[in-house]
């Protein structure tokens, strides 16, 4: 079932679709918040796909620890594990990154938008008095 873009602010193509919740963004960020997991992603990108035991050798942590990192990445949807017993071939799934990228784009675009306005500090009426 597709929603049909009847959002109140209808056509404003600069405004990136902003319906991703704070929790969704934070969950993706949390999956990316460990150096070993970044290393794993970079490894997968460099080889396109890779089995777990090679990741263990490359990263140098215990097999159970790597398995846990892979589980976290898999749970977030950032990577996919294709089972070909007894191996699992992992690869990066860029789809889940998109909404996160869109959020970061908001930050960078806001920068350009702000550069020609005086950036005065907004203060609520309540706090001003």
């Amino acid at each position: 079932m597709q929603n049909s873009t009847i959002t109140p602010q209808s056509t404003k193509e600069q405004h990136i679709d902003d319906n991703t919740t704070n929790e969704d963004i934070a969950l993706i960020a949390k999956a990316l918040s460990h150096p070993a997991r970044i290393q794993i992603i970079r490894l997968l990108l460099s080889k396109k796909t890779c089995i777990g035991s090679d990741i263990v050798d490359e990263v140098g942590l215990a097999q159970s620890t790597i398995s846990e990192h892979l589980r976290i990445l898999k749970a977030s949807g950032i990577i996919i594990g294709e089972i070909t017993r007894p191996r699992v071939c992992y690869s990066v799934n860029p789809v889940r990154i998109r909404p996160f990228m869109d959020f970061l784009d908001l930050i960078l675009n806001k920068d350009a938008e702000t550069s020609n306005t005086t950036s005065t500090c907004w203060v609520s009426p309540k706090a001003k008095q």
Copy 2:
């Protein structure tokens, strides 16, 4: 004050340099890994800048908790706090987001690159035998 910021577009086919460490990426991600902090960033983006007490009212957590979240965001460089005693005006600093974006771009670009190749699973010579 026309600052010469690089326009966010047109970074499609240029080769992104990859010298950011896994730790750097993970630290930025960690700063973004909590819903309250995403909410704070969105709030700052919507108002361009904002004082802390208004953030407390908006988010609905204790003042000390918000202060801690602001400290984490400030420590990561994602936001800047301009002190005008007794207030602090917070605003988003997009500069620190850039290397993080570049990393995510690697993921998305790799996707396009992979789409016309057979994504076979890479297996180390050692594991193959």
